[in-house]
């Protein structure tokens, strides 16, 4: 005698990660820290952009980096040269950072530094255009990078990442003259899936467009921090 019973749950599959992300964000807010989540495919130039960002802003803002890398500390070591706190999170075989991993990074930060003194925490996600898009980590804004060598069609093929981004940096624009690539076409394709995105073409190598990016970063840092600098 079996009776089949349905129990309605109606729970988001990622509710645990979402709760973790909200918890992280609450901590950032309590500390007065702005958090950015940097996402792109491998090799789009996240670390190069961060190097330029730290070189330009580490005197103006107190910045820390939470660095997701699958197995090495190579990227973290590049950023440590700029004398800012860098917490490396080795994700092992995981293809993205999740809220729990970033919470671990925040604890490490809080152990060795006074987080209330920080203005900005930048999370460099694992290079991947797919998975990080679904896992919030507690950021206040998402920054996506797409290098000109990846092709104009990538926003159409990996729409979720570009849909979620607050800012899209089109990187390596110094290479554009050597490629059959149209920056306007990239921007148009991104806007098809995300009409509200801010598009900033940059080159970390030549410095082209970096001022617009640095201004944007400063604009999202919480005002109380800016005035205290």
């Amino acid at each position: 005698m079996h009776q089949i019973i349905d129990d309605t749950l109606g729970i988001n599959l990622l509710h645990a990660n979402q709760a973790g992300a909200d918890h992280n964000r609450a901590h950032f807010d309590e500390w007065g820290v702005t958090c950015l989540n940097l996402m792109s495919s491998p090799g789009a130039g996240k670390t190069a952009l961060l190097e330029k960002t730290l070189a330009a802003l580490s005197d103006v803002l107190k910045i820390a980096i939470i660095e997701g890398d699958m197995t090495t500390e190579l990227d973290a070591d590049r950023l440590r040269q700029y004398s800012v706190p860098v917490v490396a999170i080795n994700t092992g075989r995981a293809c993205h950072l999740d809220a729990r991993m970033v919470a671990g990074g925040m604890h490490t930060l809080a152990e060795n530094h006074t987080p209330e003194d920080l203005d900005l925490v930048i999370v460099e996600n694992v290079g991947n255009l797919v998975c990080p898009a679904e896992f919030e980590v507690g950021e206040h804004a998402k920054v996506a990078l797409l290098s000109v060598t990846e092709g104009e069609d990538k926003p159409l093929k990996y729409p979720v990442m570009f849909r979620e981004a607050d800012v899209l940096l089109i990187t390596k624009i110094d290479l554009a003259p050597y490629l059959d690539v149209n920056l306007e076409c990239i921007a148009d394709n991104v806007r098809q899936v995300n009409p509200h995105v801010t598009v900033l073409p940059v080159s970390a190598k030549t410095g082209a467009g970096l001022n617009a990016w640095l201004s944007w970063v400063q604009s999202v840092v919480k005002p109380s921090q800016m005035t205290s600098v």
Partner: protein
């Protein structure tokens, strides 16, 4: 790859649900809704679910995945349309970008179906709950 993590989250949620039940009854089916405009591959979820539930109280339970299509709403035309994923997201009539998404972003555990036996009590499989917790 991330389907493995998502399946772990799914099993944890079912474990929590089960803990809240007065009786630990065998689960027959778990119903999920997965939108087409997500980074989730239903076939990978099925595979991960089968592997991760082995020798747990969910061993043999069926994962039923309902996919929802991507449907956008064009404010200029005041009409819904279906973007072509991978090709075209703008409104086919007026070319306005895809702004409001009405369907396709769902990742939801809808419901759990379980058996109630006439003289329902602790089923032998129920004692494996802790094992599932350890795995996840």
């Amino acid at each position: 790859m991330h389907e493995t993590d998502m399946t772990r989250a799914l099993i944890m949620t079912i474990c929590d649900w089960r803990e809240s039940q007065p009786e630990k009854l065998p689960v027959a089916k778990v119903f999920l809704t997965v939108g087409q405009f997500t980074c989730v591959e239903p076939a990978s979820l099925q595979f991960a679910f089968e592997v991760q539930t082995r020798d747990t109280f969910l061993d043999g339970a069926e994962l039923v995945i309902q996919e929802t299509p991507l449907i956008a709403f064009c404010h200029a035309c005041q009409a819904e349309y279906r973007p072509e994923i991978g090709l075209q997201y703008a409104c086919p009539d007026c070319r306005s970008p895809m702004d409001d998404i009405r369907s396709g972003r769902e990742l939801k555990i809808d419901r759990v179906q379980y058996f109630q036996t006439a003289q329902s009590g602790e089923s032998p499989r129920a004692v494996k709950t802790d094992h599932a917790h350890q795995k996840s």
